[in-house]
């Protein structure tokens, strides 16, 4: 009540104590950020569009943007669409492969992260701080370093193979880095799972234990309590976690580069990276980026809307 009255007073320019905020006060704070994002986020996205519909310099074959939408040249976009969805489609398999990898990796992330987050949130007890430190650690251990660590371990003479042959689980050393989808998917899981554990933990931590006890008192078994109380309460966090994990994975190319030497596991990010680096294919690279954004825009908007809504309701 008091807050609402104060806000009303602010808008009309009068407040208790004789102080009032000018209309431009709060927007002025936001201005530097708004300008920055306008120039360095919105404008670059338009530049990508201009290049996707742009031309190629005849000498050096680098892409040139066409700023005027009226003059947009659709060759590159049509080529990319043909190569993805047309008869001769060879980019299509890479798209499909990326979807499959990302889906598997995200689901695995969820399946692994949920029990861990649940345990730390509900049963952490006195060691909760310690667990949290260990859970947060991967955030500031560089992704590149964690991948490098795995590249070391997965070498033919690395520790993973040594452990497998020593325990007899594998007859001879397996060449993990020769282009196996399993390695790439597990690499993605390893890299992005911390982004799943923390939101899940935060959400599960906020679940009131008395709700669970109440459910137990009313006769529900553990499983039913979980399915009908805990899971629905953490629903938003699950979705948020999935989105935070899935979206960056679509653009990931270095995981595949480091963990697989073979083009058989090429992902969308690799296609984009290759096209940008090849003279004459820059417009196609931009077109791929545009295609990628189009595919992702729905989940992105969904996430943004639900987070904005949750923020407004004070839940986030």
């Amino acid at each position: 009540m008091v807050a609402q009255a104060a806000r009303r007073r602010r808008r009309t320019g009068r407040a208790g104590g004789g102080v009032w905020y000018p209309r431009w006060f709060w927007p002025a704070f936001a201005l530097p950020g708004v300008l920055w994002l306008a120039v360095l986020f919105v404008l670059p996205l338009y530049t990508v569009l201009s290049i996707a519909f742009g031309t190629i310099d005849p000498l050096f074959r680098n892409p040139l943007p066409t700023w005027n939408p009226v003059q947009w040249d659709t060759t590159a976009v049509r080529t990319v669409l043909e190569r993805t969805f047309g008869d001769d489609a060879y980019l299509g398999p890479a798209f499909l492969r990326t979807f499959v990898y990302v889906l598997c990796a995200s689901v695995l992330c969820l399946v692994i992260a949920y029990p861990v987050a649940y345990f730390v949130a509900r049963y952490g007890g006195r060691r909760k701080g310690l667990f949290l430190v260990l859970l947060i650690a991967p955030f500031w251990i560089s992704y590149m370093m964690r991948l490098l660590a795995w590249v070391n371990l997965l070498q033919t003479d690395g520790w993973v193979n040594r452990a497998l042959t020593a325990t007899g689980l594998a007859g001879q050393p397996i060449n993990w880095l020769d282009g196996r989808p399993v390695t790439v998917v597990l690499g993605l899981v390893y890299g992005y799972i911390p982004y799943m554990t923390l939101p899940l933990f935060a959400s599960l931590d906020r679940v009131d234990p008395s709700l669970l006890e109440a459910s137990r008192d009313l006769g529900a078994s553990r499983l039913r309590t979980f399915l009908r109380v805990t899971l629905p309460l953490s629903r938003h966090a699950i979705l948020a976690g999935m989105v935070i994990v899935t979206l960056p994975m679509f653009g990931d190319y270095f995981t595949n580069d480091l963990l697989s030497g073979s083009p058989g596991t090429a992902m969308l990010g690799n296609l984009v990276n290759d096209a940008i680096g090849t003279p004459g294919q820059g417009t196609q690279g931009a077109a791929l980026v545009v295609l990628l954004m189009t595919m992702l825009v729905l989940p992105m908007l969904y996430y943004v809307r639900s987070t904005a809504r949750a923020t407004r309701e004070g839940r986030a």
Binding site: N62, T66, A94, R97, G179, G261, S262, A275
Partner: protein, 418 residues
């Protein structure tokens, strides 16, 4: 601002948005015209000259890009910036020894490296990185010269040119060596380990086919270079033109590569010099210099004796050379000339060779004696590059944009893992 390719000065002007749109609009029209009229090979008149042994090119010297004057003193207290492939020049030779030799000018040498030629050219074109010395391949040097990125050489500073093979005093891609000197010569062939591969690769009728052998699935590698990989498939099929624009031949090569991807699952990279010694691969397409270099990457206790390299004994394989050029935007052109002269001298060149494994075209280094002098181990004597190879072998020349697009599209399909 986008560089207008028709602009001869190559400088970028701050252009107003209206002019920008006009140029962009014009660009679209031009591109549309080009696309309509151009086909493979018809760009010779419209576009830049494409150098080849049958069509040697003498690059003109323009008003705004003249060589430096004679008899200038090297710059004092300068930082000489070298831009080269990663790990392609011996730091001791390029930095320590050169700095020692030119101590009285208090020069410092800095080496920056790039991973792909396209990346390097893109950075050079921004004009924002003042490198002095660049190591291009001859299929790109034409573009660089036309874009006025390279400085013409003043031969009075580089007397050591007499130490290299005479053919380089008038190469087809740069007649009268106006802009470049040679750096290394190399061939592309097939390398393998005899302890893992029991087949006699060298004795096969078509050793290129060994790379398609399903027996070695997962243990084969090819080079991550679209020209090299597709050329190899072309050679396997008996083609002799490695610059062909024939869609049928390119398509056949592409299908072969795709078959290889399915049956053999090759690694695609340029670290054969590490993979083969560490037995991550057993059979690989390789550059001659890399295999020579591989002997230093053998794990402890293993002898480099097991590595073999095959190149067509009649010389009809892929042969290339790399170049050293002076960059126009560099701050120390006189020192740069001295550096080129220094690298053409016998001792530094051979010491560099001892480190990176790539043979310099020195006349004093008789190819037959390279093995005797232990620059190259006996089991790798096939990596020696003979001058005759340049007459009989096939070169990878600059392609016209239309043909290049065909090659790039084929490679893109292979790399997409289709």
């Amino acid at each position: 601002m986008a560089r207008d390719p028709r602009d001869p000065s190559g400088l970028s002007h701050p252009v107003s948005r209206r002019a920008f749109l006009a140029v962009a609009g014009g660009g679209v029209l031009l591109a549309a015209c080009g696309k309509g009229g151009g086909g493979a090979g018809s760009n010779a008149a419209a576009g830049p000259p494409l150098a080849s042994p049958q069509n040697p090119v003498l690059w003109p010297l323009t008003e705004d890009n003249q060589p430096i004057a004679d008899g200038l003193e090297p710059e004092k207290n300068a930082v000489l910036k070298i831009y080269n492939w990663a790990d392609y020049i011996y730091k001791k030779v390029a930095v320590d020894d050169f700095q020692k030799k030119y101590k009285k000018y208090n020069v410092k040498v800095e080496i920056s490296s790039f991973n792909t030629m396209d990346e390097a050219i893109a950075k050079l074109r921004t004009g924002q990185v003042p490198f002095d010395i660049f190591f291009p391949t001859y299929d790109r040097v034409g573009k660089l010269i036309q874009a006025k990125l390279l400085r013409p050489l003043n031969h009075t500073y580089i007397p050591n040119i007499s130490q290299v093979w005479p053919v380089f005093k008038n190469p087809f891609y740069d007649q009268q060596w106006r802009f470049s000197v040679p750096y290394t010569v190399y061939t592309t062939g097939v390398a393998w380990r005899v302890d893992k591969v029991k087949k006699d690769i060298a004795g096969m009728a078509n050793p290129y086919e060994a790379l398609w052998d399903a027996d070695y699935r997962g243990k084969i590698a090819i080079l991550d270079d679209y020209r090299e990989a597709i050329s190899m498939a072309l050679l396997k099929n008996g083609a002799t033109d490695l610059n062909t624009g024939d869609p049928k031949l390119i398509d056949q090569a592409k299908q072969d590569l795709l078959t290889m991807a399915k049956t053999v699952k090759p690694l695609v990279n340029t670290k054969g010099y590490v993979d083969l010694p560490e037995a991550r691969t057993w059979l690989t397409q390789a550059w001659s210099g890399d295999m020579n270099n591989a002997q230093y990457y053998m794990p402890k206790g293993q002898s480099p004796e097991v590595i073999r390299y095959w190149y067509p004994p009649d010389g009809k394989g892929t042969v290339n050379n790399d170049l050293i050029c002076v960059v126009k935007g560099g701050k120390s052109p006189v020192l740069a000339h001295h550096f080129l002269n220094y690298m053409l001298d016998f001792d530094p060149a051979m010491e560099n060779f001892g480190w990176n494994g790539y043979q310099p075209p020195q006349t004093k280094a008789d190819p037959k004696s390279l093995v005797a002098d232990e620059y190259i181990p006996k089991n790798l004597s096939t990596t020696v590059v003979l001058p005759e190879y340049f007459d009989k072998g096939f070169r990878q020349l600059e392609l016209s944009p239309a043909v290049d697009s065909l090659w790039n599209a084929a490679w893109q399909q292979f790399k997409a893992g289709a």
